[in-house]
Structures are given as C-alpha cells and as structure tokens.
C-alpha cells in the first residue's frame, strides 16, 4: 500500500496546480477505489507516453537474450513506456554524460561500480521507492551489495562469485579441506610436466580470486576504518599460502602466465582444479562434459576457517534527475522498469538463458526444486554458504591494481621479493592512491561521509534460502558466522 501511495505521488501530470489538481486527485482516488487499479495501471490508461533510456543489458549471448525477453514483456505490460536501450554503452562514460545532464535513466551494472556512482550522487536512493517488504524478497547478501550507509541504491538481478571447478576424471571426489585439495593437486602435478594440479596465475590476478582466501586466515581487505590491511600478519599468511602452491607444494607453475593459460590447461584435462566463476561454466562443460564438477573452495583445516569468495551482484540503478534530466514520469517509469527486470519471471529467464544465479529467494527456491538433479547447481549452492560481502565503497577501487602490482612483483622477482615485501608494497600503494585522491581512511572521516552505521564491513555470509536439501551438512556449521562479522542486512 505504501509503495502504491508513493507511486501515485509520482504519476505524470502531478505538476498541475489549483482546483484542477484536486479534481484529478479525487478522480484518481475514486478510480483506484472503484476498480482496484494500481498506480501503474492508471498510468497505462493515460494517453501520453514516456520514453526512458537504458544503458547495458548484460554480457552478449544469454544475458542479453534474457534482457530482450524481459524487455519485450515489459513493453507489452506498459505500452505507454518506450525503452531505448544501448546494450553496448560504455559505463565509464556515465560520469561525463551525467555531468552534462544527458545520462541514461537506467543503468545495468555491478554493485561495486554502482556503489562508486552512488557515492558521487549519480544514482538514486531507491529506499524512497521500495519498502522493506519488497527488499525482503531478495537474498540479504545481494541487498547488502546494493546498500551503502543504510541506503539501497539499486535492485540486484543476479549474484555470483568464484568456486572450485574440478575434473572428475583426475579428482573423482571433491576435496573437503585444503590439505586434501593440495594432495589431489599434487597427485595430478606428479603425472607429468604438462600437468598442473591447481593452475593459478598469481601475476595475472588483480586480487579478486586471492581475496577469497583472506577469511580463511582471519584476514581482511580493509578494516572498519577503511584502512587497507594487506600488510597485516593474517593477509600476509594468506598470500604465503597461495604462493606456496608454486614454491613449496609445486602444484602451480603459472606465475606470470595469463588466466587464459589456466583455462586452456583445465579444458585440455591437464589440470585438476581451477578457481573460476559460473560465467565460464559453459566453456568448461563443452570441454569436459560430465567430468566437470564444481564445489565450494574447501575448508582450511589448518586454520579452521572457510575461504570466502567475494560474492557480487549485477543489477539496475536509476540515475538522479540532475544527471539525466528525467521528469517525474520518467523516474516513475524507470522504477517500474527495474522492478520488472528483476522480478521473478525476468530472473528465471536469466537463469534459463544465461545460467545467472538469482537474487530473488523465490527463483532460488524454484531452481532448487526443478534442478535438483544438477550437481553443478548443488556445488554453487554449497559455495554460496561461504561468501563475503563484495565491498562497494570507493576505497576498494584502489585495491585491484595495487594487488596486481604486488603479485606481479612477487611472481616475477621471487628470488629478491618476499611475500611480506609484496604485501607491504600492496598496502603502501593503496594508501598512496587513497592519499593522492584525497579519500579518507580513518574512522571519523568515514563516519562523516557515510554515516556511522555503514562502517561495519567485515566478512559477510549470504543468507541462502534455497531448498535446505541443498545445504550440504558439513557446510551448515558455518552459517553461524552470519551474524559475527559486520553482517549487513
């Protein structure tokens, strides 16, 4: 009801004043009461149309096909709203066009990029348009991805991260702890010089995959004051562990190679494992067929902690009228559009056409019932139990290249550069970037910018609401972490 009220406040034509306004409002209220029509239905019956512009439609192929499918049904449901979409628009240009007041009304982008734009005031505060009962339909993890300072700035359409793919021909049973994973990888590496147990090109990593290992060592990317923690004992231990795959366990030798090299090894059946996301699953399925398996990155038996990949989300955000020049009618239409594009049928289409995991609990439940024989899905469900919040604060933007520089230095100059040298360098580089860009990394400053409630950014475990038969018993114990580490709902 509350949302309907808000919607009706934003109906086109609300600019009319005086007695006419009163008459129109009265007529609208009578119509609603009499016909039980919602605000959008009234809008549908109005003669005037509205056009909104949209940037982004997901990656080429399945995601764009799902986008077009949902767009067609939206235009059918809202014949007076015309959507002009630019699937290949460059999101990097958004600040430029926003400053010129010609930004698109809606953008499809990742939660962290949207977080950056929200910090700049480019995208709309959605809390104004969506109430709690609406957001409660989505997984807490994805809503957290799209929340900053207690404010929702977009609606998630999917969720994903990395897991551990394995070749069943080389590793018949997936490892349940890191010791087993290393031993399995070692057995495969020992099969010959062309085999690599766990190919991981550290020098090619920008820190996305490495970040998964931090929780297993009690490490973190930034502390609650947004100070980078890469040079901490725990983070250094995590990097040592990953680097030991090369120098101590000899299960990896890719160092300065590329991710494509890792993938080529795995696809050709010369690697036991690969750390990757569902976006590459179809490639691996084509190469390995039924021998492809996926499981959660295993429990670290040495530290007693789980590795937790960054669990991100793609979604839709609406640009502020100052950026797009939107009228209230366009803003209203944009809200309807993004609600439609993230609804049950749109997310189901996205799953069916692109394999994207849903952000809606109901779609997750549907998938777990209808795809319960798919072992790959159960693998991802297992992984989803052990994930961390994908940081959406601007400081995170300076982690990637700093990590890449340090990791490359370590892989390239292993005789002269130690792991602690690398972590020192990474942290110093992040601090230098934060200083150079005048970005605060002390607690009082962050409180000032974001509000005190936003500064808990510890590990995050997604709350899974899929069918509980899919929650593997060994993983359930970790769900208790959900409330322990700066969990943001």
């Amino acid at each position: 009801m509350e949302s309907q009220k808000k919607e009706s406040q934003n109906l086109p034509g609300s600019k009319l004043g005086g007695p006419k306004k009163g008459i129109i409002v009265a007529v609208v209220l009578i119509l609603i009461a009499a016909g039980g029509l919602g605000g959008y239905e009234f809008y549908k019956s109005s003669a005037s149309g509205v056009t909104i512009t949209v940037w982004g439609a997901g990656s080429a192929g399945g995601e764009q096909s799902a986008f077009n499918h949902s767009l067609a049904s939206f235009e059918q449901a809202y014949p007076n709203i015309t959507v002009q979409d630019s699937p290949a628009a460059t999101l990097g240009n958004l600040p430029t066009v926003a400053h010129a007041g010609t930004a698109p009304n809606v953008v499809r982008l990742s939660s962290d990029q949207a977080g950056l734009f929200y910090s700049a005031g480019l995208v709309l505060n959605m809390s104004k348009y969506l109430n709690k009962s609406f957001t409660s339909q989505y997984t807490k993890g994805t809503i957290a991805d799209w929340t900053s300072g207690g404010t929702l700035y977009g609606i998630p359409v999917n969720t994903n991260g990395i897991g551990l793919y394995y070749n069943k021909q080389l590793v018949p049973t997936p490892p349940t702890n890191t010791y087993q994973m290393i031993m399995d990888a070692k057995n495969v590496s020992d099969m010959g010089s062309s085999y690599v147990g766990l190919p991981y090109a550290l020098g090619a990593d920008y820190g996305y995959r490495f970040a998964a290992w931090l929780p297993a060592f009690n490490g973190e990317l930034f502390n609650s004051s947004f100070y980078p923690m890469l040079n901490s004992t725990n983070d250094t231990a995590a990097l040592s562990f990953v680097w030991n795959w090369t120098v101590q366990y000899h299960i990896d030798k890719l160092g300065l190679s590329t991710v494509a090299d890792e993938q080529a090894l795995f696809e050709s059946g010369k690697a036991a494992f690969i750390l990757d996301g569902p976006w590459d699953q179809s490639t691996y399925q084509n190469a390995l067929g039924k021998n492809l398996g996926v499981t959660a990155i295993p429990f670290d038996n040495a530290t007693g902690k789980w590795p937790m990949p960054l669990w991100g989300s793609q979604g839709y955000a609406i640009t502020v009228p100052q950026a797009s020049g939107a009228t209230s009618a366009q803003t209203w239409a944009s809200v309807q559009f993004i609600k439609w594009m993230t609804n049950y049928s749109s997310q189901l289409a996205l799953f069916n056409k692109a394999g994207d995991f849903p952000s809606l609990n109901s779609v997750g439940a549907y998938i777990s019932v209808h795809n319960n024989s798919d072992p790959l899905i159960s693998g991802w469900v297992a992984q989803e139990q052990h994930t961390q919040f994908f940081p959406n604060y601007p400081q995170m933007g300076y982690y990637w290249s700093a990590f890449h520089a340090g990791a490359t230095d370590l892989a390239q100059n292993s005789t002269t550069v130690s792991v602690s040298d690398a972590t020192k360098m990474i942290e110093a580089s992040i601090i230098q970037s934060l200083q150079s860009n005048n970005l605060p990394y002390s607690s009082p400053a962050m409180n000032y910018l974001y509000g005190a409630e936003s500064i808990s950014i510890g590990h995050f475990v997604n709350e899974i609401t899929l069918d509980q038969t899919y929650v593997f018993a060994p993983f359930q114990s970790d769900v208790s972490n959900a409330g322990s580490g700066g969990y943001r709902a």
Partner: protein, 300 residues
Amino acid sequence: METKTEKISRNGGIWKGYIYLLPILIVLITLDFYPIAYAVYISLTNFGLFHFFSFSYVGLANYSLVFRTGLLTTLLIHTVIFSVGSILVMVPFGLGMAVIMNQRELRGKYIFRTMFLFPWAFPAFVTILIWKGMLDYNLGIINKILAYVSISPVNWLGTGNLAMLSLILVNLWLSFPYYTFVYTSALQSVPQELYDAAEMDGYGALSRLTRIVFPLLRRQIAFISIFGFITAWNNFYLPYLLTYGGPGVSTQTLPIYTYIDAFANVQFAIGSALSIISILILAIAVIIINHYSKMMTILY
C-alpha cells in the same frame, strides 16, 4: 605619402588575413585552448567523487596532493622511460632507413617506399592488437619462432621491464615509416654535388654521413626528436591497448593513469591536475631543448 585608397587597400588586406586565420583560430580555441583552460579550472576545484554536482575552488590543493604523495614520481619515471626510449630507437632507425633508401644505386626504392608506408597507413589499434597476439607468452608467433631456435619463451607482456621494452618496440613499428619519410625528404634536399665532391675527396660512407648528412640535418633531427618525444609522452592508445599500464603498474604512464583516475575512479580534479602538470612538463622540456638545439627555427 600613402594615399587614402592605398591605406584602405592595405587595411582590407590585413582584415582578409585575419579572416583567413579565423577557421584555424576557431578550431584551436574550441579544441585546444578552451579544454585546457577548463582543465586548469577543474584542477583548482574539488570536482570528483564526493563533489560531483556542486564543487568548489580549492586552490592548488590537488597539485600539492599529487606531489606530496610521491605518485607523480612513479608515473614520471615510466613516462620518461617510454618517451626517451622511443626516441632513442625511432630516430636512428628512421634516419638509417632513410639513408638506405636514399642510395642512388638502390633498385626498387619506390616499391620499398610504398611498402614501408603500410605500418603507418594501417589502423593503429589493429596493429597494436596484432602485436599483442604476436607477443603472447603461449600462443604468440614470436615465442614460437624463438622455440624453433631453441630459445626459451619470453614473457613479453607479463614481465615489467619487457613489457616496457615491448611498448617501445611496438611504438617503433608504428612510427618508423613517418620518421623514414621525413628524413628521406630532408636527405633529398641535400645537394647531390656535396656527395659527389665528398666521393672525389675519398670520403667513405660513414664520413659522408658524419660530415655531410648529420651537420646538414641537425635541425631536422632535433625537430623530429622533440616531436617524437612529445608524441610518445602523450601516447595513450598504445599502452592502453597493449598493456593497460601493467603488469602491475610497470607501464603506467601519465596519460594512462590520468584517464583511469578521472574516468574509472571519478576523480576529475586530480586527473585534470595531472594532465596540466603533464602539459607544463612538456612545455618546459620543449623550451629547454629548443634553447640548445634551436630546432624551432625549422618552423620559421
């Protein structure tokens, strides 16, 4: 004594001159002076992530920030290595090719000249992507050829120093036709009699080069070196497409970092300050070099 008619005619001529200059002045003002002036203005504000729609004047704070944090030093080192490194290979190579192609007895020189135009005439981004493939560690043809002669594969783009070397070599490939042609035209302006006289005096090829070509072409060489230095300093698309500043930050030059910081990190004021610093450094470098080489006299 100038008559009234002559005066009107002379003034009309001056105005005509101004009218003829107008198109280029408009282009310069709209495409150069206004954007630079706007960048100066932005660099003196806090326009960026936290002050996007309403920003204010902050004086030289952004300049002070980039100098204070040491970031600029790293970027300058990379930019200087790339620019000077490019000049050090492009100038001798272009001159060498021009000298070879300027040989009277060389057969098929027109065919060679046409062929040598190809790397320059081909779209640069396509050339860069082809080089990227050729330099690939596993699939690149360069490492395949090295393997044939039993040389271990080289990680051209994955190792810091080699990535910078790769940038310089690809830049050489993209630029050498231009340098070759400029030198060729300069060489053709050297009177043939000087070569003939030198030959009669028993000068060898090297002596002809050092005693005739270099002294007569010194201004052209200085001009081309400075021109090449400026072009390499401002080169954005080559490092962007070939290495994107990596691996790590080993090929991150001023233009690349400025772009990433302004557009990816929404730090327009800092990005503008960096671009203004870049312009100032270039201007100072050109003034100093010109002072010693007098190369600009070639233009007047």
